[in-house]
Subunit: 350 residues, 2 copies
Amino acid sequence: MSGISDVARLAGVSKSTASRALSGSGYVSEKTRLKVAAVAASLEYVPSSNAASLVTGRTRNVGVVIPYLHRWFFAEVLEGIQAALLERGLDLTLYDANPGTEGRRRIFEDFLARKRFDGLIAVGLEPEDHELERLLKIGRPVVSVVGTDADASVIGIDDNDAARRATHHLTSLGHEHIAFVGGGSSPRWASVDRRRLDGYLEAMSEAGLTARAQHIRSEVSLPGGYAAAVDLLGARSRPTGIVAVCDEVAIGAIIAARRLGIGVPGDLSVVGIDDHKYAEMFALTTLQQVPREQGRAAVELLEAQLADADAEPTHLALSARLIVRASTGPVDAQHSVMVSDARTGIDGSV
Amino acid sequence: MSGISDVARLAGVSKSTASRALSGSGYVSEKTRLKVAAVAASLEYVPSSNAASLVTGRTRNVGVVIPYLHRWFFAEVLEGIQAALLERGLDLTLYDANPGTEGRRRIFEDFLARKRFDGLIAVGLEPEDHELERLLKIGRPVVSVVGTDADASVIGIDDNDAARRATHHLTSLGHEHIAFVGGGSSPRWASVDRRRLDGYLEAMSEAGLTARAQHIRSEVSLPGGYAAAVDLLGARSRPTGIVAVCDEVAIGAIIAARRLGIGVPGDLSVVGIDDHKYAEMFALTTLQQVPREQGRAAVELLEAQLADADAEPTHLALSARLIVRASTGPVDAQHSVMVSDARTGIDGSV
DNA sequence: TTGAAAGCGATACCAC
DNA sequence: GTGGTATCGCTTTCAA
């Protein structure tokens, strides 16, 4: 394994010149640059990032703190981040900070303090106060995907607005009995869920339906949505519309409805938020966000902060796009589809 | 930010003694060890991993090369790896090597060569020949989760056996027309899929059903299984049993069956491989593997290789456990459940 | 049991 | 444009 001095010697130049030639910074004649590059290539020279980091203080590595890997949104964001980092030649150190685990504690107590990165991207982290404190104490730029930090750059959709529009979509179709499903299953609310519930409540209020607003708590997952919907739809008086906190919950609700023989959208309209990869298969009407792009954007924001130490924190609130598929319909059309469903086994939504 | 010389000075010892005291290697009197530790704590001293790595050659970092993040199996393995690494104080560098992407190419060409890790864990990587060559050339221990490398440690389930037992489960229930769904959708087979198909074919052969064996190609995903099953089950002569390449495909098939009014398990038995987190919700009979534990085991294996440079590569083939839920039943029971399904909207499987 | 000094492999300043 | 040299922060002989 050859070092830069080997390259320098074989190229007949000094270490400093070799370094300049390879890093591309500083004056080097084109001739020697070519020569050095050729030698480096022939030796398959790979610079030691440790040595370089030690002297420059820059690691060319980005840390990603993320609470879940198995949830659609998080996996997509992470893939977006990784893709953008690969393009830039930057490494990615993963910190899976699952809430309530010993691992998360150690990440905040020990791992982050090592500063093995030039900057951090926090994805849907929702840090406790003492965690946030740690995060800022590190003294490296932080970009959040989903969040509310005032001190860091944040990128995400306008959750309140998305839920409001989802709800409005149903009220404009004539629905009056609309439930919001998901969130609040654990004592500590995820703030995203909270914001979406608020958006729903505001839209219900605008439609004069505050009295009929109903929040069904559930875990934010497909089985969670399924379980909650089984209860909700099995009750005597069931809603004609469901706004789900996210697509996973929405899809769970659709599956529950089908199993209960409730036609979608004939007897029940369901709208989600996400545009999950399964959304199309379930013909789910939803408010689309593109987490992969959010991941890429986070890298771009971080890059800017890295280039210019005192760049102002940017707050990017993207707007979700309504995609109407076949899980929502006018409230009047009730039952018409249900019949065909029982006969053919396929309702009109596919 | 204080370095080890600050600690040394304030503790009234030399750098060397401070280093020994903190790293715990070499002779240090208990008294000075305590003193140094106290000073280090008061200064919130964090050693520079770059400096340490530069001199020791060890990074205390593990690279994980993984082709997907959004698929259940991969996300679970990754979470298992991360948890085990956090316990050991080791960092995790993520390389998302999505097949066919420019990013994957760069990972193998550039990123891995930097050797910013003491060892690698490859998860379901299925490297091309030239990629494998690169991998071994790095000269760092590699552990594979799922795979067939002779030169590296491998951990995974016996896929052939799992598929064979899944199939046998159906034949023992009297099924004769059993299709295998999934895999082979792209020209390049994933070898896992291939092995599972082989296991199915062997079991069919053992049951004297070779003539009726049928492989339905599909993408290995829930929508993929759904689409394939819609075609398969819509045909004139449909099977009474489905062995799916994995649970995601199996669940897609169940959803398709329900939509077509085909009762599960009344008219159709479905068995998967995985024990996916949604398996319970769909009452899916499956052969369980626990990817999270495979991730942990990979870390343990790697740790052993790291401790003892010439430890023999270990090949761990775990056995999947059959979990019988309610997606499979005797072939005779056909139609009985379908009727109740149509009446109540809920079949017997929940 | 401790300390002085020699690197690890690069970068960057400063003469030339 | 180029080369010598100090330096980054630590570990590790080797002597004392």
